[in-house]
Amino acid sequence: MAFSALDKNDCSKPDKKFDMNFFRFLKGSIKIILKGNKAYYIWLAFLLLLVLWGGYGYFGQLRFGLIKSHMRDSVSWAFYIGNFTFLVGVAAAAIMLVIPAYVYNWKPIKEIVIFGELLAVCAVIMCISFIVVDIGNPLRFWHMLPIVGTMNFPSSMLSWDFFVLMTYLLLNSVVVTYLLYCVFYKKEYNKKFVLPLVLFSIPLAVGIHTVTAFLYNALPARVFWNSALLAPRFLASAFCSGPAILLILFQILRKTTKFEIKDEAIWRIAELMVYAMFIYLFFTLAELFKEFYSGTEHILYWKYLLFGIGENREIVVYSWASIIMGFIAFMLFLIPKTRKNFVTLNIGAVFIYASVYVEKGIALIIPGFTPDVLGQIYVYTPSLTEIRTAVMIFSLGFLLFTFLSKIAIAIIFDHYNIDSLRGKS
């Protein structure tokens, strides 16, 4: 065996035949991606269709500019940055789930880390995509880099956000690739290498969402965001939406692969989500009390969000849809009977995901700009181009996550490893 001379407990040392094996690995992985049952192909075809439909919309934006969106000078940030914010939450929560997995000693902790990190990697890539489609000159992105460009660090929160997101992406990519690589080569992973990185990724997960909240929080001109509760609310809501995805994913994995996770662990995740929802509810009520009881001019933005101002009520349907879905999910998760029933549990998971998505996508951003700083109301709802572009990014993200998960599943559960590759070649 080519690597027999190496230390068995450490697979971080280079393999002589690495190049060759890597090539084989790529070929093998492509085969895995392309192979599947009928449902898998339907899923892929569905995603590809969405990518094409969305991509054509984005193409129009590239040609004519952001005028294809419904954003204007009054509402200069909207749906794209809302999606970005939501996905930062997903990316952060995927890793934060490692804490309870560790504390409660759930059995498949390694698998939870691996799938959590894969989700985080995909979510961060989608985040960055949403920033790229949102800026007027995507080709000038390099201006933001240090050395070649003139990064405004540490002054601008946007450069901070870019910095922490990049670090987070790099860190998670390294950890998950390394873990899978070790399983693939049937070697023990080096705990001294992995553990500190995983431990570091947890505060960094809190960090990316906090910095993203500070992005908005840092603007005294926008009183709707200028509340110290913004970052805590972000974290609480992320802890609702992120685990919702993993909750469903774990059930799918459990059914279709040898992945084992006990019902108790899934219920525990749901229980933690109830705490998060409760905290979120409490923070929001505290915010609402302060705004409505003191009744200063700052109340305008909340009024616009919840009731509309005058004839302008277009956004109200979004905010109440989010509130109602969130509340139903909260009740479903709170009552033990419905929490432990997988039908109602999954309905709750979908509802809370949708609720936080609408909250971050629309309800967080738009009232920040409506009325605008000069008191003018420009009614914003996303344009078809914006929706199509978002659909494109989400489908690409799901596609990437599907592929990565499929390879990971094959490596972890289906004996896709170095020996099986050699056997074939």
Partner: protein, 296 residues
Amino acid sequence: MKKEKSRRSFLKNISVVTFSAIAATGCNMASIDEFLQQNFRILSKKEKNNIVKSLEAKYKEKYGKEFHVSDKPAIEGTQFGYALDLSRCVGCRRCVYACIKENNQSRDPQIHWIQVLQMEKERGIDFAHADVHYNPEKVPEKGHFYIPVACQQCRNPQCITVCPVKATWQEPDGIVVVDYNWCIGCRYCMAACPYGARHFNWGEPNVPGEEINTEMHYLGNRPRMKGVVEKCTFCIQRVREGKYPSCVEICPVGARKFGNLLDPESEIRYILENKRVLVLKEELNTQPKFYYFFGV
């Protein structure tokens, strides 16, 4: 040896492919230069000169006229300030249109650097009840007064703090400017500005050739491109040549005053000394150099 050769031909092929790809997308050397151009603030005098010259040639080709693009730096000992007499302003919006013409703002899609707010006399300065879309036969309307708002040229500008690429900065004479070639179009500055003074080119800007102002400054009224932010520069192309901003010149009631804050004899200093002034949203600590006062 053979290997070396094949590598060289590979590189050659690559460059041929790259260049033909660039040619196919309609790029030329000038646009590559433009793409690679650095932040204006770190360019040498010579580089700035070359850029300005090439811009003049480019505009001439596009509009068929002679252009003068200046990169004149701030004059030492100047700090520009502005004062607007609220008791005189009648809300005629002549300043808005003079500004558009002088500064080559896009006509369609429309960009206005100055927004005139109509307010109710009974409420005082109250943005929540202000209206920019007032459209009566005759101004001023009974029971109303007017506040024109453009860039307040803050001493503590939050737009500059938040810009992730340092594409906007405060010049030594206090004017906040944007390098349109460096702005990535993230619009963080627009979210940060408490005065709605920054405007974005959502689509390709459009200025008719016969109306274009050919006297330009690199940091001011030169034509902008799609996807960048622009704003009032106190008419940088005029004030650094000792002229008034065009909104000051056009104002039919003499409500607009402009001058050097460092010159004790200036009109602006006279107003600060003899009238009581106010600034908008002073609680945000932006410290504007744009003052409002009541002259009569």
